[in-house]
């Protein structure tokens, strides 16, 4: 068993609550309050995983959500989750985690051969490799899928539940450190509705890792405690811990992921509690107090397990009571890391302090001397010994121009490096809000500048690195946000906090080593997650990728799941050095949501499986279910597609249904057809405008079929409209087009002709419709409607009669989409099922058969009736469809008419609707197949048309098809080829598009 790195005392862990967990199958012990990272470090485990590209051994670099290295595969089975930052996982009893990206084990990984081959995997590798010919893609893809990627997605359905929450607030505060808490206090006291969110389990931000910090002469955490107590007592303040504000979108719309039970054993989580909650927040004002992230130094072999941020080492010592190394080299270019050296030395470590500066402040040096810390001034870390753990560190004096070593390296024994290259304000949310950034010379980093949104920044995320400043900015921002949201509040007086030393850093963007960059074996890593080195940036620049946006994509720096939180500025700075330009002129890339990865589970919330989308069923739906219907989706509707009997497949059922309709009678549920009730004195005028033919002349009780066009003259819906009375019409639309057509009518009425008096009401769901179709349809109807005169003289084709059917008040429309005698019987929706069952009973003597949409499609195709959206595609005119007969010559104007005269619409040779008969009558063409005049050995071959509808027709006794063919009506009887994916080439003959009952006697009879 390895030594314990746990200190005897200190930290915010609960030492009375021991927690056992497993990592890579080994059992370890930690405490409640530990993260997986702190608990592993306490157990002296530094090797966590392998890197993305080179499979280099990697450890823990940070103590927060910015972690680029220590990504693990968390949990098992259905709950396993990849790429989770060990630094954010709160351990619980029974937790299991595994290393990623290594096989067979993290200690011995075959993929590490990539590291040896690294000179063959340069920047832009993907772009250089994946080029023509396309056929090699398959090979590349297999290689990449195996080699790339980090963890593994679960293959089982997610067993957890997720919630979504919509919230509105006056002030949303992202970040609960000193600045965020101060902002919440100032805004909360005004009575404003405040949401305060922080990604950690506890509030306090950086103060949680800083036991020495003081506010008003007392420990800073006492101030944090008092602030929280006050906030909890304010009724309008919502406090969300373990909640990451992930996205800042338009008009102050923000999203946040609350990890409600992730810190608990999933099998012991409280019942009726979602695992995560996805917040969608509309905030009048926001205060962004995200804090700052320490910048790594770019030195040779700076990716070895044991190279950590200095602030992270301080956090492990103070927050978790873990001393992650015994021999620690602190490498810094600024004052802040001296605190880490102090803490480490006091905790018992042997400490070397390497400061790139020649003359750090005297008091700091005096303190180091008093603690027995050996200091190396004007020096840098120029090499690291050890691969899976650090054994030694090379320290050397740097030349004045920072490009080389001024003396031979000195190797010191060490097992940990704590580095600090300064601090980067966390500007991600600000940047997402479309905020622009400004370069701050002192910080050598970007700070928020201007945003078009109602946002403010405060604290170290705004560039204020001293505690007193953070508090003051927080109070000011919170109060100002509340005021801008309409509340009255004074800015509270800010408490006092001692200032720390903050002398200028010596900014060395690439620390030299014994050999020039890109030569020798030592690598300077910039982006640890995507394995991008300083040499890669140089290579990209040499190859001409000099813009930051190009650099980012070519090298993939900043494109990992960590969004380059630790790499971004270093990459920009190195590029600007290469270009000999200043950093602001090189510019930055834009940060995009989410700030940290968010799971699909949370984003989907409850909208999964049955709740994914609403379903619409007709009043007869339960009957269809009980009678074995197979359904198809038409819009949101569930429509019976066919009704199989005794193990029939679709083909057998459809052939039987189609035959029965033509022999005796069939019944179809047509309730889903769109129905619009149109009233008002200008109704006829509206119909004349939107249909190609004349409707204002239609007499009550009469029905007319109509085509609707858009202004381009192209068909966009069809249906029949019935005149119910004076200025009163009933319009039928296609099932899928119901909403579109209603909107179309409303558009003209509301925007172009607001003075017309027309009222359109959707009545689709008010009426249930059963369609009887077939030679015996009249006999069936007569049996249930003895009072109605059904003879052809009294009730002719294309008329409507009101009456009583099966004891139910009904409107019966004599129209036909099958080409056989048909009645569409409309009854109030609540009687739909009663009507259906009465018709089924009355039809029993005629072997009535229910039929679905598939048979309907076959029956109408036998007659050459089109389906809009199947035989048309938005580029088809009535003339193309051979439907000139329905276009009024009398009307001066209707929607789309003028476009008929456009040269392209009027020209000859456009694609036209024709029938297609295959040479082999048993062969059914696939819909979408193309017609060519000659088959070439390989594509391309000029196509002259395509198959739009194709079926086996039992009533015609062979396969039939409809298609759109260039100049088709002049090609009757001509033969063309249809080359198919299978290699088969079918010969088809162009025919009239009507295959059955060409004179239309059956529907009129």
């Amino acid at each position: 068993m390895a030594r314990s790195a746990r200190l005897a005392e200190g930290g915010r862990i609960d030492r009375s609550k021991s927690v056992r967990f497993k990592f890579n199958g080994e059992s370890y012990q930690g405490f409640k309050g530990d993260t997986l990272a702190s608990a592993l470090l306490a157990n002296d485990v530094h090797l966590i995983g392998r890197s993305f590209k080179y499979h280099r051994p990697r450890g823990i670099m940070t103590a927060g959500s910015e972690e680029p290295n220590a990504l693990v595969q968390l949990g098992e089975g259905a709950r396993t989750e990849p790429n989770i930052r060990a630094t954010q996982i709160e351990i619980f009893e029974g937790l299991t985690a595994r290393s990623q990206n290594c096989w067979p084990s993290v200690g011995f990984d075959i993929g590490a051969v990539n590291s040896v081959l690294s000179r063959y995997l340069p920047a832009g590798f993907y772009y250089k490799t994946f080029m023509w010919p396309a056929s090699l893609w398959l090979t590349y893809e297999r290689f990449i899928r195996k080699a790339a990627g980090l963890g593994q997605a679960p293959t089982e359905p997610d067993p957890d539940r997720y919630a979504q929450h919509h919230a509105h607030c006056d002030v949303l505060i992202a970040g609960g450190g000193p600045a965020g808490l101060a902002a919440a206090l100032a805004a909360g006291r005004s009575g404003a509705r405040v949401i305060l969110a922080d990604e950690q389990n506890e509030f306090g931000g950086s103060l949680l890792s800083d036991a020495e910090a003081e506010i008003d002469g007392a420990p800073a955490l006492a101030w944090v405690g008092a602030a929280l107590e006050e906030l909890r007592a304010l009724p309008e303040v919502t406090i969300l811990s373990r909640t990451t504000v992930t996205g800042y979108y338009d008009h102050n719309f923000l999203t946040a992921v609350e990890r409600v039970t992730d810190h608990l054993d999933p099998d012991a989580a409280p019942p009726n509690t979602p695992r995560q909650r996805f917040w969608k927040i509309r905030a009048k004002q926001t205060v962004l107090a995200q804090g700052a992230i320490e910048r790594p130094l770019v030195f040779a072999e700076n990716d070895r397990p044991g190279v950590m941020l200095a602030s992270a080492v301080a956090a492990y010592i103070q927050r978790y009571g873990v001393l992650p190394g015994r021999e620690i080299v602190v490498f810094t270019n600024n004052d802040s890391a001296y605190a880490t050296a102090r803490l480490a030395a006091r905790a018992g470590a042997r400490v070397h302090l390497v400061d790139a500066r020649e003359q750090p402040p005297g008091p700091l040096l005096a303190e180091m001397a008093a603690l027995g810390v050996e200091t190396h001034l004007g020096c840098g870390v120029v090499g690291v010994s050890g691969t899976k753990a650090i054994h030694g560190v090379d320290i050397a004096k740097l030349t004045e121009d920072e490009k080389g070593l001024a003396g031979p390296p000195l190797q010191v024994s060490a097992d940990l490096i704590a580095m600090s290259g300064g601090w980067n304000p966390t500007v991600h949310l600000f940047s997402q809000s479309r905020g622009t950034l400004r370069y701050d010379e002192t910080l050598a980093s970007f700070v928020p500048d201007k945003t078009p949104q109602k946002a403010r920044c405060a604290g170290s995320g705004n560039g204020a690195m001293m505690l007193a400043e953070c508090l003051r900015e927080g109070f000011e921002a919170g109060a100002a946000a509340a005021r801008d949201a309409g509340f009255t509040v004074e800015t509270p007086e800010s408490p006092d906090a001692p200032a720390l030393l903050d002398s200028p850093p010596r900014q060395i963007w690439t620390v030299p080593t014994v050999h020039p960059l890109g030569q020798g074996k030592r690598k300077h890593f910039l982006d640890h997650q995507n394995d991008v080195t300083a040499a890669d940036v140089h290579l990209a620049a040499r190859e001409g990728y000099l813009s930051v946006e190009h650099l980012k994509r070519y090298t993939t720096t900043g494109m990992g799941t960590d969004q380059g939180k630790t790499s971004n500025i270093n990459a920009l700075a190195i590029l600007s050095e290469i270009r000999a330009a200043d950093i602001p002129s090189v510019g930055t890339t834009t940060f995009r949501p989410p700030y940290t990865p968010a799971g699909f589970g949370a984003m989907s919330g409850q909208a999964v499986k049955d709740l994914f989308e609403p379903e619409r069923g007709t009043p007869m739906h339960p009957w269809h279910l009980a009678n074995g219907a197979v359904f198809e989706d038409v819009g949101d509707w569930k429509r019976p597609r066919y009704f199989p009997r005794d193990g029939e497949d679709m083909h057998a059922a459809v052939q039987r249904e189609c035959r029965q309709v033509r022999e005796t009678v069939g019944i179809m549920d047509a309730s889903t057809l769109g129905k619009i009730d149109i009233q008002g004195k200008d109704s006829g005028r509206l119909l004349d405008l939107v249909y190609t033919n004349l409707f204002s002349s239609l007499k009550p009780g009469r029905i007319r079929y109509g085509l609707m066009l858009n202004e381009h003259g192209m068909i966009f819906d069809d249906g029949v409209t019935t005149c119910l009375g004076v200025n009163h019409y009933h319009m039928n639309t296609t099932t899928g087009g119901a909403a579109r057509v209603l909107n179309w009518l409303e558009e003209w009425l509301q925007t172009e002709y607001p003075d017309w008096e027309v009222y359109c009401t959707s009545v689709t769901e008010q009426w249930a419709v059963a369609t009887l179709s077939g030679p015996k349809a009249r006999d069936v109807l007569l049996a249930v409607a003895p009072e109605m005169a059904l003879d052809s003289d009294s009730f002719s084709f294309m008329t409507m009669r009101e009456g009583v059917v099966a004891g139910i008040p009904a409107r019966v429309f004599r129209v036909s989409f099958t080409g056989d005698l048909s009645y569409e019987i409309n009854v109030p929706a609540r009687y739909g099922r009663a009507l259906w069952e009465a018709l089924m009973a009355a039809g029993a003597p005629y072997a009535i058969t229910p039929y679905g949409t598939e048979s309907m499609h076959v029956l109408r195709a036998e007659k050459g009736f089109i389906i809009v959206g199947q035989d048309t595609d938005g580029s088809v005119t009535p003339r193309d469809m051979g439907m000139d007969w329905i276009v009024s010559k009398k009307k001066e104007d209707f929607i789309g008419k003028r476009s008929f005269a456009r040269p392209d619409t009027a020209r000859e040779g456009r694609k036209q609707l024709v029938g297609l008969l295959t040479e082999d009558p048993t062969f059914v063409l696939p819909e979408g197949a193309h017609l060519v005049s000659a088959v070439n050995p390989a594509p391309p071959m000029p196509m002259i048309g395509h198959v739009s509808s194709s079926y086996m027709s039992p009533n015609v006794g062979r396969s039939i098809a409809l298609g759109l063919v260039k100049d088709g009506r002049n090609l009757m009887g001509r033969q063309f080829q249809v080359p198919l994916m299978s290699g088969r080439v079918e010969t088809v003959t162009i025919t009239e598009p009507v295959f059955f009952d060409k004179d239309g006697e059956r529907s009129r009879g």
């Binding site: 338009d250 008009h251 509309r282 925007t751 172009e752 104007d893 456009r902 040269p903």
Partner: protein, 99 residues
Amino acid sequence: MLQITCPWCGPRDAVEFHCHGEAHIARPEKPHEISDAEWGDYIFFRKNPKGVHFERWTHDAGCRRWFNAIRNTVTDAFIATYAPTDPIPEIPTDDQGDA
């Protein structure tokens, strides 16, 4: 997500709305009397400004009514929304929707 103020319902999330492109394009009163070029202008040509844009919207998941909006296409700020029958509001000279 944009927040859009329906002239009838008030501020609502953008998911409730649909944008239908440029506003204030009147349908020619006598289409058959105009040239192909003029007709082509009416059906095909639309402005695509960087900045202030007049456009038509519908509040589909609300009152289902059409209205016009003045939006800055750079910032997505809505300067005004108004009924189709309303006169075009004057745009304050200091408000180009930049904030």
